[in-house]
């Protein structure tokens, strides 16, 4: 079991997070397993407003990655137009600054081994 985890940990791709769930309806991994992943955190991404829904909602992301990196990843995944921005919310009411790392946000707002992030796509900046 631990060997398997090490193997998946070794395959961390800097370009994109590791997909841990292929179908949105399947069961999420158990909290214990997620916590033991060491340097990764399970992030659950939920669309808000007219933002496209991501086929794979659950991602294991390196703890040291910044929120800005997650935003960039979503923008690429949902194919944002250049004039559009993506904002992320925790607790459905607070947008963490892009230079805060995922670990900090998980420690403040995460629960049961995962962190729920809502994303919205907008043209607004003000």
């Amino acid at each position: 079991m631990s060997a398997e985890e090490d193997a998946s940990g070794g395959r961390i791709n800097d370009e994109s997070p590791t997909n841990v769930e292929t179908s949105p309806t399947s069961e999420p991994t158990s909290p214990a397993v997620s916590k033991d992943k060491g340097d990764k955190i399970d992030i659950l991404l939920k669309a808000t407003g007219d933002a496209p829904i991501m086929k794979k909602r659950k991602w294991a992301v390196d703890k040291k990655k910044k929120i800005g990196w997650v935003i960039e990843f979503i923008k690429r995944y949902i194919k944002c137009e250049p004039h559009e921005s993506v904002f992320l919310y925790v607790n459905q009411a607070f947008a963490p600054a892009p230079d805060v790392d995922v670990r900090t946000i998980y420690e403040c707002f995460g629960a049961e081994g995962k962190l729920v992030l809502h994303y919205c796509r907008t043209q607004a900046w003000g």
Binding site: F94, A97, V100, C108, F109, C120, W125, G126
Partner: protein, 255 residues
């Protein structure tokens, strides 16, 4: 008089006369009309004066408890009598590749980067003091972020420098549309020129935030919100104003 029957024409004339106002005023007018039309078409969030004041007071109490330096100022004008301010000094790095990007083609851009003088001024970080003011706009029924910034020698941060100082993740959006970002405006209370984060779509943005809820959870609507903090944490980082995570935690605990 036969004029009574021709009322539509009179209204048309009235509109035309309004739009013949000076450029800035009419731009603002169009912007307001556009946002009102959007309000009619899409959902928008109307922040009332009362909610703004309550949210501002909550923000101040959190700020005081974590030592974040936000201050509440009172003034007498209209229904809202307060605004928030914060001053902070940042080490600002201007992105060197920004220079001339929109004007020059690739070859010329390389020449710019080779230029030692350009690089030395652009890539080194300098201390810049930002002053942020959050005010309520009755016209937009939304909070508006005003800010000004000056370097250590006292000269003001130019719009070009502000563009160049934006974090990498906002550069793409800026390149696509830089003119709907900030406008230089007179500060409504201090009457000094300030940059204003464009409030056109603040209502829409706040409506989006409101939609942001967990549909699966039964207590979906029991979310404790502070729209001012939600909005400020969204748009603040664009102009170097980071809102610490403690605000998000405190609001949740405030029930």
């Amino acid at each position: 008089m036969s004029h009574g029957r021709r009322r539509p024409i009179q209204i048309g004339w009235l509109l035309a006369s309004i739009t013949r106002q000076p450029l800035i005023a009419s731009l603002d007018f169009y912007c307001l009309i556009a946002s009102q039309l959007q309000m009619a078409g899409c959902s928008t969030y109307v922040l009332t004066e009362k909610e703004f004041t309550a949210n501002a007071n909550q923000l101040i109490s959190i700020s005081n408890s974590i030592g974040d330096n936000w201050q509440l100022h009172h003034f007498k004008d209209g229904d809202v009598d307060c605004y928030l301010s914060k001053r902070l000094t940042k080490d600002l790095k201007l992105s060197p590749s920004y220079e001339g990007e929109s004007v020059l083609d690739l070859e010329e851009e390389n020449e710019v980067e080779d230029d030692v003088n350009t690089l030395s001024t652009a890539s080194v970080g300098e201390l810049c003091t930002f002053e942020y003011h959050v005010m309520y706009s009755s016209s937009y029924a939304a909070p508006v972020l005003y800010f000004t910034a000056y370097w250590q020698d006292g000269h003001l941060l130019s719009l070009e420098d502000l563009w160049a100082s934006l974090s990498k993740i906002y550069q793409c959006r800026l390149r696509a549309d830089r003119w709907t970002f900030v406008t230089q405006q007179e500060h409504p209370v201090l009457h000094r020129p300030f940059y204003q984060l464009h409030p056109c779509k603040t209502g829409l943005l706040m409506a989006l935030m409101r939609e942001c809820k967990d549909t699966q959870s039964s207590h979906g609507d029991g979310i404790i919100r502070n729209m001012l903090v939600s909005w400020l944490s969204t748009v603040g980082p664009v102009v170097h104003l980071d809102i610490p995570v403690q605000y998000g935690i405190s609001i949740q605990d405030h029930k």
